[in-house]
Symmetry: C2
Subunit: 226 residues, 2 copies
């Protein structure tokens, strides 16, 4: 679970009793499929059901869970398994007060991705792969808006790209692009009570985006990088 | 496994003894991870080890394998399981004589994707999802070249796009784009012994593509559809 608070990209971690931190997860039930299990964990942790979720990859190395971790899993979940295959998803969350208080109640921790140095089992490898996919997806599709409030300023959008892609953005050029973009629309409202010149609020119009995408997708296949 | 023979997109099917057709697959061994199992099946079916393979999705509906199919799986593989979760991959193959004779020996069948009306279990759903991902990936990345011989003509490339994306292509415009493309290079050779004006052969330069991609990716994130 990735979250953005306006400043940096964060990742939700849970602590194993007296042990190290891990990514949130669960075994699946007999009567549920894997996406349902992922949404179940998401809702448990955030209180929200309609969160952006994407399948990342399957982690299935026979040696990925060592003897002690396997014992922990068997005792924690009350099962008796010799092998654990993990299907990883990434989720995107805008960090607001409601979510922060919910995750805190659950004893979970939003930690800056950059400062995460160790995790249980192969969870650092999972996080690494999720981050790589997030970066790639952010360059190809408008998922950035999943990490922002509904109404956002151009500064907030550039700060998000800067925080995740690690690139400096020419604000004037960027502003021009946004203004010519058919699916990022001004709301007519401006920031209030800020110590600088109030910035205009924009919204992302998903339906317009889909329409534009349909129009252009078929023509774009040879312009991969132009 | 998708294959292209210069005319249409085909999919490799295997027949269950006296029953319907299914996609090639296997249970995994205790000591192998899932990608290794996928490569194992690929090599078994094609004789080749270096084939383009991409993880598609996990299929885990508790009801996806009915009672009879479960009995077939348990008897075929000599196991005793109550549930089967499938990790699906798609692979891309250029259909040449060597592969065709190998798959024929294995009793497998290259069938035109468009003419596949029914498959075992939920394999039609898997094929449908694989096709959707193939089309999306073909618009965003240069995987088309995995389906073509090393040296190809512009006609072969347009025929491939036409067959898979189902779009008519303005050949003159397309030719211009190819010629200005930094990673599709003329070999200097031409077709021989053809009943029409011999066409020039091109190659795809993967390393150049990667270099170009690095240069442009960071700048492209707001131009999703321009």
């Amino acid at each position: 679970m990735f979250g953005f608070d306006g400043r940096s990209l964060k990742c939700l971690l849970v602590r194993r009793d007296g042990l190290d931190h891990k990514l949130p997860g669960s075994l699946i039930f007999d009567n549920e499929d894997i996406p349902s299990a992922a949404y179940r964990v998401l809702e448990e942790m955030t209180g929200l059901g309609d969160i952006y979720l994407k399948e990342l990859s399957v982690f299935s190395d026979p040696l990925r869970v060592g003897k002690e971790d396997l014992e922990w899993i068997n005792s924690f979940y009350g099962v008796n398994t010799r092998r654990v295959v993990t299907v990883a998803y990434y989720a995107l969350v805008k960090l607001d007060r409601r979510i922060l208080s919910h995750t805190q109640e659950k004893g979970a921790l939003w930690k800056e991705v950059e400062s995460i140095t160790s995790l249980a089992m192969d969870h650092r490898q999972i996080l690494h792969k999720a981050l790589a996919m997030l970066i790639r997806d952010m360059t190809n599709s408008p998922i950035a808006f999943e990490l922002l409030p509904k109404k956002f300023t151009i500064r907030e959008l550039t700060d998000l790209y800067k925080a995740i892609l690690g690139v400096e953005i020419d604000r004037r050029n960027f502003r021009k692009k946004i203004k010519s973009c058919a699916y990022i629309l001004p709301t007519g409202e401006k920031e209030k009570g800020v110590p600088h010149k109030p910035a205009a609020y924009f919204v992302f119009d998903k339906n317009r985006y889909k329409k534009e995408e349909k129009k252009t997708r078929k023509l774009n296949f040879i312009n991969w990088n132009e």
